[in-house]
Symmetry: none
Subunit: 203 residues, 4 copies
Amino acid sequence: MAEDDNRRTPVTPRGARTRQALIDAARVVFERDGYLDARLTDITAEARCSTGSFYTYFTSKEEIFAAVMEMTKNEMLHPGVSRVSEDDDPVAVIAASNRSYFESYRRNAKLMQLLEQVANVDPRVREVRQERARAFVERNARSIADLQERGLVDPDLDSLVASWALSSMVSRLAFSAFVLKEIPDGDHLVDTCTRLWCNALRL
Amino acid sequence: MAEDDNRRTPVTPRGARTRQALIDAARVVFERDGYLDARLTDITAEARCSTGSFYTYFTSKEEIFAAVMEMTKNEMLHPGVSRVSEDDDPVAVIAASNRSYFESYRRNAKLMQLLEQVANVDPRVREVRQERARAFVERNARSIADLQERGLVDPDLDSLVASWALSSMVSRLAFSAFVLKEIPDGDHLVDTCTRLWCNALRL
Amino acid sequence: MAEDDNRRTPVTPRGARTRQALIDAARVVFERDGYLDARLTDITAEARCSTGSFYTYFTSKEEIFAAVMEMTKNEMLHPGVSRVSEDDDPVAVIAASNRSYFESYRRNAKLMQLLEQVANVDPRVREVRQERARAFVERNARSIADLQERGLVDPDLDSLVASWALSSMVSRLAFSAFVLKEIPDGDHLVDTCTRLWCNALRL
Amino acid sequence: MAEDDNRRTPVTPRGARTRQALIDAARVVFERDGYLDARLTDITAEARCSTGSFYTYFTSKEEIFAAVMEMTKNEMLHPGVSRVSEDDDPVAVIAASNRSYFESYRRNAKLMQLLEQVANVDPRVREVRQERARAFVERNARSIADLQERGLVDPDLDSLVASWALSSMVSRLAFSAFVLKEIPDGDHLVDTCTRLWCNALRL
DNA sequence: CATGAATGAGGCTTCATTCAT
DNA sequence: CATGAATGAAGCCTCATTCAT
């Protein structure tokens, strides 16, 4: 995250406040208008600061978008997963993980939509999104491989490809449910999803 | 599909040729530069006609994009599916269907990327994409329901939700493989995908 | 009215029909959209003929406007005036003249508005309008001079200037009443107008 | 008068200067080229600022035209009128008023021509012109009614209609004299005008 | 004579970015 | 560090006019 630019990280509290106001405003504007239709002046207006101030802290729309995403990274994590111990029932672990994922997605649907939007437009954001996806997939792949080692699931499956497939299934389902609203949200959705996941692995 | 505009449908062969040249040019430019970076003048230059001619047939970039999509709809269909009879082994049917889908996606990867890009930006295109997705999902849902009736797959699954999930899995996998190139393409991919699909249904 | 252009006066009945259709269409479009917003293609569409045909008969919007005005010249004349003989009561003559003028204006309000509009935009049309005005003013001036000679009205008035003033009064009043609709139409209006005219001359 | 737009009213002196320069430039260009032929770039060139600056203060040609008119409203007022006291000879009052009106019109002939031109083309400007006219007419109507109450003029006249007629006469005469130059300017014109006005009222 | 497609100059408008105060 | 006005490249779009069929 080292800046290749001499934009200062604010040193005075006043500067920090302005920077934060800009990020908050950017989130509001991006969620309201979409990334492409958001104008820098909309953001500064929302932040109640001048146009010029934007360039004190950021060099471009892209950069402030990255800052928004960085800022909300914590909200996007799925804290529930790690709390499930390895001794637990594997199905319960998967169910908990899925439930947690869906909940997080539901809470941040607008942001996820934005991320999807911008990833299809800006290569740097695409990279960010793919990195997140990869991390998610790899964690699931390790989990699948682990279950294979323990003889609990179909050993013939390529754990990485299976993880790609199942992770894609879950994330796309969440997108359809919470962003596109094509599928009714609810326990039924998560349950079916978990059941398919377990079935798919022959767990 | 009814135009809310009086742009003519060409009545002379010459007009039809120009219109077609514009659509072809648009596809080239869209695939080369992406939807957002494509300028109308690039399209008319590629089509070797004047700026004004664009407006003889289309009112906006959005509209010619829709025409490109309409034009290539046939290429996107998966003709192989219907050739598999109902008497065949259900696994073979699914395998054939998936293979066909992946092949079609591979051939039209650029267009699929475009569709995804524009769908996240333009509501009208989003509608088109969702309609296609829905058709695909519903076909698969009927197929699943049919297998349930024949007692071949898990009867407890909600066939529609299961179809959403598995269809999402396949289409997203294709996107990751052919557009993002995150997953190596190959028989292995389709086979694993089919295996997961069948497993998921307990077929 | 001699054309400085080789646009043919139609020789075939078919040509005459097309030309007439264009003029009729132009009137409809001009009255509906105003001169400036009227596009040549609107006129040809209204006339149900091709764009090219327009240029078979006219060279410009200006020219077809002139043709519309020429065509409707007869409607604009005030036939009632001449029917009043000189022996009649001068007040009755003036009253009849005014009444006739107002009636004609009321019937052709849309066209008068157009004439006013275009005169402020196109010097050639301005010339036409001024010529009409001048003819009207001069006729009235002669009438006033005549009354002066007969010792019926104030002999100190400059008959030409008085005619300009009173003619302006009437025509502008008609414009306000029938085009701008600022003044309620009715007998009261004409009567007051006539009374003012007579008073002004000390008739 | 409330702007339905967020174009800023300048807050710094510099901004105020630019805005003023644009208005001044617009007046020059409008008077030189006419409203329709005036291009925005002509105005910004004349104001020695960039194209973009125009849009900092105005949204359209129409809007800056309104600003020009607003700016010159003061020049258009007829300050002489109020200086004539009610005790004066009514004829003298009318004479002074007319003289003042003509002088003002003569000074601002170009602008009046513009106003007339644009009023026939743009409904918003038409409204402005009509409001001015109405104010003028109503003031004269009150004056006529006052003279009626004092028994000095024909009591049978409808003071409002009479005012419309006579006000129209004066303003149209001024237009003919100073814009169209159809009538020779001079004392004679004003005197005849005043005489007709007084005669018409039987003053 | 009719047709209707093709043309392209020319004006309009936006908004990211700079910079003087 | 904040301000907000100034900039101008860049793309959009119209429509009168021409011309091949």
